[in-house]
Symmetry: C2
Subunit: 428 residues, 2 copies
Amino acid sequence: MSQPLRLGIAGLGTVGVGVVKIIQQQADLLTMRTGRPVTISAISARSRGKDRGVDLSAYAWEDDPVALAKRDDVDVYVELMGGSNGPAKASTLAALDAGKDVVTANKALLALHGQMLAEKAEAAGRVIRYEAAVAGGIPVIKALTEGLAGNKIARVMGVMNGTCNYILTRMEATGQGYNALFDEANKLGYLEADPNLDVGGIDAGHKLSLLSSIAFGTQVDFDGVELEGIQRITLEDIRAAADMGYRVKLLGVAQMTERGLEQRMSPCLVPADSPLGQLEGGTNMVVIEGDSVGQIVLRGAGAGEGPTASAVMGDICDVARGFRYPVFGQPASTLAQAPRAQSATPAPYYLRMSLRDKPGALAKVASVLGEAGVSIHRMRQYDHVDDIAPVLLVTHETTRADLDTALEGIANTDAVTGAPVALRIETV
Amino acid sequence: MSQPLRLGIAGLGTVGVGVVKIIQQQADLLTMRTGRPVTISAISARSRGKDRGVDLSAYAWEDDPVALAKRDDVDVYVELMGGSNGPAKASTLAALDAGKDVVTANKALLALHGQMLAEKAEAAGRVIRYEAAVAGGIPVIKALTEGLAGNKIARVMGVMNGTCNYILTRMEATGQGYNALFDEANKLGYLEADPNLDVGGIDAGHKLSLLSSIAFGTQVDFDGVELEGIQRITLEDIRAAADMGYRVKLLGVAQMTERGLEQRMSPCLVPADSPLGQLEGGTNMVVIEGDSVGQIVLRGAGAGEGPTASAVMGDICDVARGFRYPVFGQPASTLAQAPRAQSATPAPYYLRMSLRDKPGALAKVASVLGEAGVSIHRMRQYDHVDDIAPVLLVTHETTRADLDTALEGIANTDAVTGAPVALRIETV
C-alpha cells in the first residue's frame, strides 16, 4: 500500500461537506481506484461549532486557512471557500509556497489570477486542479485538456450558469416575467450573495475564460469576455423566439478566428431542437468542437453538493494517482496573450421592435436595414395594440457593426418606439 | 525537453491513417501539451504499397505486427488492426511481454480477453488504454475511470453503435423498412464485414461490457450481456412507438442491483424528448449515473477517422504525460467476478399484437395480462385491415418473467395471430 494522500480542506459549505462525505463513505472505493488511501488531515471554515451533519472530530482544525495550507501533514490543499481575493487567494499562494498541490472549485480566483497562479505553481512543480470550477459535475476540463488533447479546438460553447437557465426556462414554462422568476430563484437559494454574478453573466464568464485558455493555449482573459446578462430578456422575447423555433439561453461562446479570440457570454437564440435548446432548468451543457473529433456535447448538473463534490473528488483522485500537468494544459510560460478579436463572427440576429401605426413605417425599417447591408430572412408583424405593432425579424448573417448601424438608423426614424431588441442567433 | 514518446502503429485503416495524420500535423501542439515530442518509429499493415494519402517514408516498416510490438525503438504499441484473436491478440501480448505500453481501439479483444490482458499488463507494470474502443470520439472511459472516480456508479446506458442508430432513425424519417435501410447502410460502408456485429448488437455489447467492468469493478463479462439485435424491428413498431411518444434505440444498459449485475444490449423504447430519444443518425451517446454526480450525458461521433483517431490520441497523450493506472480503473486482481443478475429490473414494456376480428378477442388479451399480474397503462386499437386489428399496449412496470407468462398465454389464445412483439421501455 502506498502512502496516503493527505488533504487539508478549507471551506465547509455545501461543496466542502459533500467532499468530506464522499471521503468518509467511499474510502474503500477511493483506495481501490487510486491505489492509496485518501485522508483528511485538517479542515478550516468560518464557524467551528456549526453542525454540518458530518463527523469532523477526527480532523485537526485551523481557524486560518493560510495556516491549514502550510501544515506539514497536508499534501493537497483543497480550497472550497470561494472569492477571487482575500483568504482564498492568500491561502492558495501559501499552499504553493509550501510545496502543496491545490484542488479548488474557485472560478473567480482562477479567472482573475490564473496566469499568476499557474506560473507560480509550475515554478514550484505543483499542480492546480479546478474541474469543479466549470460546469459542476461535468468532467469538461478533463475532456478538453486530456481526452481531446489531440485536437485543435475551434470553438467551445456552453450554458454554464444553472440559475440563469432556470429563470429562462421557467419564464417560458410558466409565462411569468423575469422579475417574478428572479424572486423565485432567490427564495430557492439559487442566487449568489451578489445576484449579478449569476444574472449578469459574470460567473459564467469566469468559467468561459478558463475553458478558452485551455482550448486555445492563451492566457486567461476574463476582461476580454464580452458580457451581457439576462436582465433585459422579456417574456415577449422568449415567446417570440419560441414562435420562430428558437430558445433564449445565456450562452458562452469562445472561438478562435482569423480576427483573434472571441469570448462572449450573452443571451443568444439557439434552435429549440438542438441539444443546447432543449436544456431545461439548472442543467449545464458544454459543446466542444475539435478538428478531429467534430462536436462533443457534455451535459450534467451544474451545481449542488453532490455534483460539485464529485468534480473535486475527480481532481483529488487524479492527484492521488500521480497525474501531473500544467494548470492550463500547457506550460504557463507558453500561453500566448489572448489576441482579442475586435469584432464578432458574423451571425444572424433576432430583432424585436415596436412599430408605430403609421403608413410606411415598416418600409422605413426595411429600408434602413437594407442601406446598412442587413438583409431580412424572416419577418412577422403582429396586430396593433394601442397603435403599436410588435415586429419580429430574423436577419441573414450580418456583422455586428452593420447591425448596429441599422439599429441606430431605425431608432432615429419615427417608425418605431423605444430601442429595438437585438439578440444573436448562434449556429450550433 | 524530455525524451520523445515513440510509437509503433499496427494497422493503417481509417483510424491508423487518422492517427498518423494528427501526429504529423499537430506535432507542435502535442509537444506543448504533453511536454515531449510524440513520434512514430515504425508501422505495420497488410499492404505496404497501398497509397493511403499520407507520407510514411520516415517510418520503419514491419510486415509482422508482433515484430513491430517488440522493437527497441517503440515505447507504445498502438494496435489498430481489430479482431479479437489472431495478430491483434498475439501482438498485444508480445508488446506487454516486451515491456511496452499498449493503446488500442479494439473492443472485441478487450471484451473477450480483457481480464487476462489486464493481469498481464499490471504484472509487467504496463498500461493498456482503449478510449477509442467505446463510443468513438467521446472521452467516456476517461470520464468514468477518472472524472467520476469519486462516485459509486449506479447505471451506465448508451447508444453505442452508430450504424444501428442510423438504420433506426432513417426508418422513422424515410418510412422505409429495415431491409432497405440495411442495404443503404451497407452501400455507404457503414457495416462491418460481418454485419451481425453491428445489427446483432455484438459490437455494442462488447463496448457495454467494458464500461460495466470499469463502472462496477467487475471482470469483463461479455458473455453475461443479454444481446438482442435490431433485425426484428419493423416500421410498424417504430411508427407505433413514435405515436406513443417514444423512439426505438439499440440501447445498452449496465446496472448493479441487489439481484446482481444486469447487462443488456437490446432494442428499447425511450421517451422521444429525452436526450437518448433525440439522438439521430450515427451519433453515439453515453449516460452515466453516479451517486454524487447524478446523471451525466456525453454525446459525439461514434465512428469515423477523425473521432476515433482523436480518442487514440487522447490515450497516447496520457501515456506521454505519464498517467498510469490499472486497465479497468482498479487492479485487475481486485475485480470481482461479475455477479450476473438472474432477472432484469422491472420496467414498463411496449407490446404490439395483431388482434383477430372476433368478439371478446381484446377481453381475452386483457384477462391473460391481468392473470399474469401485468397491468395496462395505455392501450390503442387501430382499425381492422383484413380482419386483423393492430393493438398497442404500454404496460405498467412489470417483471420480465410475468410478462413472458402473459405473452405465452396470449399466444395460446385464438385472440391474436402471430407472436406479440415486446420491447422494454427504459426509464431514462
